[in-house]
Amino acid sequence: MAVYKLKTPISEADIRKLKANDVLYVTGTIVTARDQAHRRALEYFKEGKSLPLNLEGLAVFHCGPVMSKQGDKWIAVAAGPTTSTRMDIFEDEFIKNFQVRVVIGKGGMGKRTTDAMAKYGAVYGAFTGGAAILAAKAIKNVRSVEWYDLGMPEAMWVFEAEEFGPLAVAIDSHGNNLFTDVQKTVEENKQRIYQKLGLSP
């Protein structure tokens, strides 16, 4: 279990050094995107329109934050991760088209995303679900908000963060997926539980 501290923009070579089970802290630009922002970004790409900012080498964060406007400045009040599986239908294209290097979320992602991470060089960093204030503490500046018409949780928030983490590297760029490993163990344990409770499978 090695600990890495990386700064954006992150290179493919650097991200390839990470292995599942390592711990990662990200400093630099982290951009939130949930279902709606993923969908719109992919639509823009298809139509040849450019995104509000270049995402290459950055971290995308599955997060719908609570934001507060103080004067003309936005503050991240609470910014924990949302469930990432909802973005599984978008993420492979997203990684391919925009070259993000880190996807931050909770709950893990599936095979499509794991394959894309191996192919294009990206990792999935699991941030503790619900640890919203811990996350907000690492966000030092809110650079901008894009696509605010999607609503506060779905908008694309551009954060400048310092040592954002700890992120458990749960999917690395070599095809390893911790969540899938745990699921296999859980399936085996399920049979033990059935036996203990006197249930037939």
């Binding site: 609570v66 640890a131 409770l197």
Partner: protein
């Protein structure tokens, strides 16, 4: 009973709920931390640090401040009950801007967010009429991640409680990392498809230190608790010993041909708060101290 007072109290319990986790939940998380594996400890430490920071900063413990659900237990002699729902809506709007809460009420047809956590049937109010003249208000702010894995089913009556045990184990395994484990499970059987789910969700309001008063049901709660924690899902689904913090079971009598069952999940950020307003306007906060 002054309607402004009801609004004030509803605002206060809503603010208490989203910032301060109940003591029983905090204690259970601390106990889990002491017993966890290395991987589990990293997750639980982040959770415990986060709880402390939220209290210090008076900020919501999780950014998903949930769908807002009230439970109103009204004495038959309480006044102004017809205006309580309006007061709860006003308190919700105020809390959304002042705490703040994340706007979480979306029109299911066009996807538009109302921006203030209110909309048709939201906040939802569960009413119960009781004797006396007090109004007891409880709020649950229910996160979406744990709501998405709640499961209702119509089981086979002939399989009895064994069928229920399998249903619960399968639901937890299927949920995996999604509901932000360690979770609390509310389980209910009987009544009907809607009744079992309502009872299961309401069971989530019980403190973890309380077990079912019926010793047989309490034993079933313990059996399910121990069994589910063998899954190895662990904190945040990254593996470990603590998948759930507790189990609460409730029931209604069932139709001979039906065996409705429901499992409601709560995330570790199990947010709830209650207060009692007396006819003379005095208020008793039941789960939290008023800290502002």
């Amino acid at each position: 009973m002054d309607i402004k007072k009801i609004e004030e109290v509803a605002f206060n319990i809503l603010k208490q709920a989203v910032i301060y986790l109940p003591d029983d939940v905090k204690q259970a998380l601390k106990k889990a931390y002491a017993e966890e594996t290395e991987t589990g400890k990293i997750q639980l430490k982040a959770i415990l640090d986060n709880i402390e920071l939220a209290e210090k900063n008076q900020a919501p413990v999780c950014q998903d401040t949930g769908t807002i659900i009230f439970y109103a237990k009204a004495g038959e002699k309480a006044q102004n009950l017809g205006k309580v729902e309006e007061a709860l809506i006003n308190a919700t709007k105020r809390a959304t801007t002042e705490v703040p809460l994340r706007p979480n009420a979306v029109n299911p047809f066009n996807g538009k967010n109302s921006g203030d956590n209110t909309g048709r049937n939201i906040p939802y109010v569960n009413w119960e009429i009781t004797s006396g003249s007090d109004l007891e208000l409880t709020v649950m702010t229910k996160g979406g991640g744990s709501e998405n894995v709640c499961m209702g089913g119509m089981l086979v009556p002939g399989e009895g409680i064994k069928g229920l045990k399998k249903f619960v184990v399968d639901a937890v395994v299927k949920a995996g990392a999604q509901p932000c484990p360690p979770n609390i499970l509310g389980i209910a059987i009987g009544g009907g498809a809607d009744i079992s789910m309502k009872l299961a969700k309401k069971a989530l309001l019980r403190p973890l230190t309380e077990h079912n008063p019926d010793p047989e049901i309490a034993a079933l709660e313990k059996e399910i608790y121990e069994a589910v924690n063998i899954t190895g899902i662990g904190p945040m689904g990254l593996g470990g010993k603590t998948t759930i913090l507790g189990v609460h079971i409730d029931f209604a009598f069932r139709h001979p041909a039906s065996f409705p069952a429901a499992v409601a999940f709560n995330c570790w950020a199990a947010r709830r708060a209650s207060a009692r307003i007396k006819a003379d306007g005095t208020v008793e906060y039941l789960t939290h101290k008023l800290e502002w």
